[in-house]
C-alpha cells in the first residue's frame, strides 16, 4: 500500500488499485507554515500522520485549537477546498 497513490508499484512496476484508507491515526511530527505560495492562506499547520490500520503516513492539514501534540490521536478525512480536496486531521473525537 502506498500514499500518495502511484501509477504502478514504484519498486516492481506491479499494477496498483485504489484503496480507501481508514481515518484514524497519530501525529508523528508537525509544522506551522508561515510562508507559502500565494494560493495558500497562511499560517496553517501541516501534520504528518501515521494511519493506525495501514501503517501508512499521510500529510494532513491539522485544524483545531492550539498546537498539535506528538503522538496525539487524530481523525483524518477529506474536506472540500474549492474544486480540490484537502486531507484534514482533527483531534480524535472532536470532528463534527
Amino acid at each position: 500500500m502506498r500514499f500518495p497513490a502511484c501509477l504502478s508499484c514504484p519498486d516492481c512496476g506491479a499494477p496498483m488499485e485504489p484503496a480507501e484508507l481508514g481515518g484514524v491515526g497519530r501525529i508523528e511530527t508537525w509544522t506551522t507554515v508561515h510562508r507559502a505560495p500565494p494560493r495558500f492562506e497562511t499560517p496553517y499547520v501541516l501534520a504528518w500522520v501515521q494511519l493506525e490500520e495501514e501503517g501508512l503516513r499521510v500529510l494532513a492539514r491539522f485544524t483545531g485549537d492550539g498546537e498539535p501534540r506528538l503522538g496525539a490521536a487524530v481523525d483524518v478525512a477529506l474536506a472540500a477546498d474549492g474544486d480540490d480536496a484537502l486531507i484534514v486531521a482533527t483531534a480524535a473525537g472532536s470532528s463534527a
Binding site: P4, T31, T32, H34, P37, L59
Partner: protein, 374 residues
C-alpha cells in the same frame, strides 16, 4: 585510460543576487578562473559537463559557445541541488572509461527573476496540501527535537557558526556574523525554522577542471578518491531508518578506502540548518541523535571534522545548479592549504554532500557524496 581522477583547478564567482548577469556571463568568470588555477589552455579541454536546474534547455551548449569551448561534446545534467556534483561524477566516469582526458565541469544557476524567495514546485498530492521545501525540513526538525531533545538554540547555532565562517569568504552572499538571538527572533518560515535558518537563493557559477593525468602545473594535486550517488526510494519520507544519505556515504567511503574519522573537512548541504545537523549523523561524524551537540565541534573543530568552513549555503546562498561545485571549490582549496582564515590545519581528506529534491514523494531526487584526498 586512467583510474586516477584529479581536480586540476577550480574557479568560482561571487554568489548573490546578480540580476543583470546571464548564466554565460557568470560561467565565463568561473571557467576563466578554473583554467587559470589549473594552468591550462582551453585547447586542453575535451568535454564539458554542465550542472543546472532552472535554465533553458540547451544551456550547456549556449555556455560552451559563449565561453570559447564550442564544438566539444557537451552534456547537460539536471539533478536538483546535486546537479553540479552529479556532473562531476559523470565527468569522472568519462575519464575512467577513456572517453575524455580533461573535462570542464561547470555548475551555474540564475534564480533572480525566476523565484522571489520560495522555490515553486510542480503540483502533486503533497504540494497541493501546502507542503513547501522549508516545511519538509521543519517536519524533520520538530521530530528531532521531540526524539533527541534538539533545541531551537542548537538550530540557531548552525547559522551562527556558518555566518561567522562566511564572514571570511569573499564569494559569499552574506559576509557578516549574526547572533543566536537574531536568528531566533527572525520571522518564522515554517516553525521551528526562522528566515535565518533557511539559506538565501543566489545566482552564481563554479567550475572545476577534471583530468585523468596528474596535473603538471599544480603544487599539490587533489584526487577524487571515491564517489557515490543515489536517488530516494518511494517510502514514507520520515519513516525511521530509511535515509539514503547514510548508504551513499558508506559507498563513497568504501570507494575512497577511508572512514568518517579520516575526514578533515566537509562541505555539506545546509539549505536548512536541520539539514546540516542530520548530515553530521548520516555521514558518521557523530552518532544518530547527537547532531545537535556536534555543532560546537564542527568549528572550531579540534580533532573532529570541520564542517562548512566556506560558511555553507547559509552564507554563500544557494544557486542550485552551482552549489555542488561551489562545495568542491572550498574542499579543494582547503586540501591545498589555500583556504585563508578558515584554513583547517593538515587537511588531507575532504568530503562534499549535496542533495535535494523536488519529487516530494521521494526522500531526495539525488544525493551525491564525493571524497577527495591529496
Amino acid at each position: 585510460v586512467s583510474d586516477d581522477v584529479f581536480i586540476a583547478g577550480v574557479g568560482a564567482t561571487r554568489f548573490g543576487r546578480r540580476p543583470q548577469d546571464s548564466e554565460s556571463v557568470m560561467a565565463l568568470e568561473a571557467v576563466r578562473a578554473a583554467l587559470h588555477d589549473a594552468g591550462v589552455e582551453r585547447a586542453a579541454i575535451d568535454a564539458v559537463f554542465v550542472g543546472n536546474v532552472f535554465g533553458d534547455p540547451g544551456l550547456g551548449q549556449a555556455i560552451a559557445r559563449d565561453v570559447g569551448l564550442a564544438g566539444l561534446p557537451v552534456v547537460n545534467v539536471e539533478n536538483a541541488c546535486a546537479s553540479g556534483t552529479s556532473a562531476l561524477l559523470e565527468a569522472a566516469a568519462w575519464i575512467r572509461a577513456g572517453m575524455a582526458e580533461s573535462v570542464l565541469v561547470l555548475g551555474v544557476e540564475k534564480l533572480s527573476g525566476r523565484f522571489d524567495g520560495l522555490i515553486a514546485l510542480p503540483s502533486s498530492t503533497y504540494i497541493d496540501q501546502g507542503l513547501t521545501l522549508p516545511a519538509i525540513y521543519a517536519l524533520h526538525a520538530r521530530r528531532h527535537m521531540e526524539e533527541h531533545g534538539l533545541a531551537p538554540t542548537d538550530l540557531a547555532s548552525v547559522t551562527v557558526k556558518s555566518r561567522r565562517l562566511g564572514a571570511h569568504n569573499p564569494l559569499a552572499s552574506y559576509q557578516d556574523a549574526v547572533s543566536a538571538e537574531e536568528v531566533l527572533a527572525a520571522p518564522l518560515i515554517a516553525d521551528p525554522l526562522t528566515r535565518l535558518m533557511c539559506c538565501p537563493n543566489a545566482d552564481g557559477a563554479a567550475a572545476a577542471i577534471v583530468t585523468g593525468a596528474r596535473p603538471a602545473a599544480v603544487d599539490r594535486p587533489i584526487r577524487l578518491l571515491g564517489s557515490a550517488l543515489a536517488s530516494g526510494r518511494h517510502r514514507d519520507r520520515l519513516a525511521p531508518g530509511t535515509s539514503v544519505v547514510g548508504e551513499v556515504a558508506r559507498r563513497a567511503y568504501e570507494a575512497a578506502s577511508v572512514g568518517p574519522q579520516d575526514v578533515d573537512v566537509a562541505e555539506v548541504h545546509d539549505a536548512f540548518v536541520i539539514g546540516e545537523i542530520l548530515a553530521y549523523e548520516r555521514l558518521g561524524f557523530c552518532e544518530p541523535g547527537e547532531g545537535g551537540r556536534y555543532v560546537a565541534r564542527a568549528y572550531p573543530h579540534g580533532d573532529d571534522t570541520a564542517v562548512n568552513t566556506s560558511g555553507g549555503l547559509m552564507s554563500r546562498g544557494h544557486p542550485p545548479g552551482a552549489t555542488g561545485i561551489a562545495q568542491v571549490y572550498e574542499v579543494v582549496r582547503q586540501l591545498r592549504d589555500h583556504a585563508g582564515p578558515a584554513q583547517v590545519q593538515d587537511a588531507d581528506v575532504g568530503l562534499t554532500l549535496t542533495m535535494g529534491g523536488t519529487v516530494t514523494e521521494l526522500e531526495t531526487n539525488a544525493c551525491v557524496v564525493h571524497v577527495f584526498g591529496t
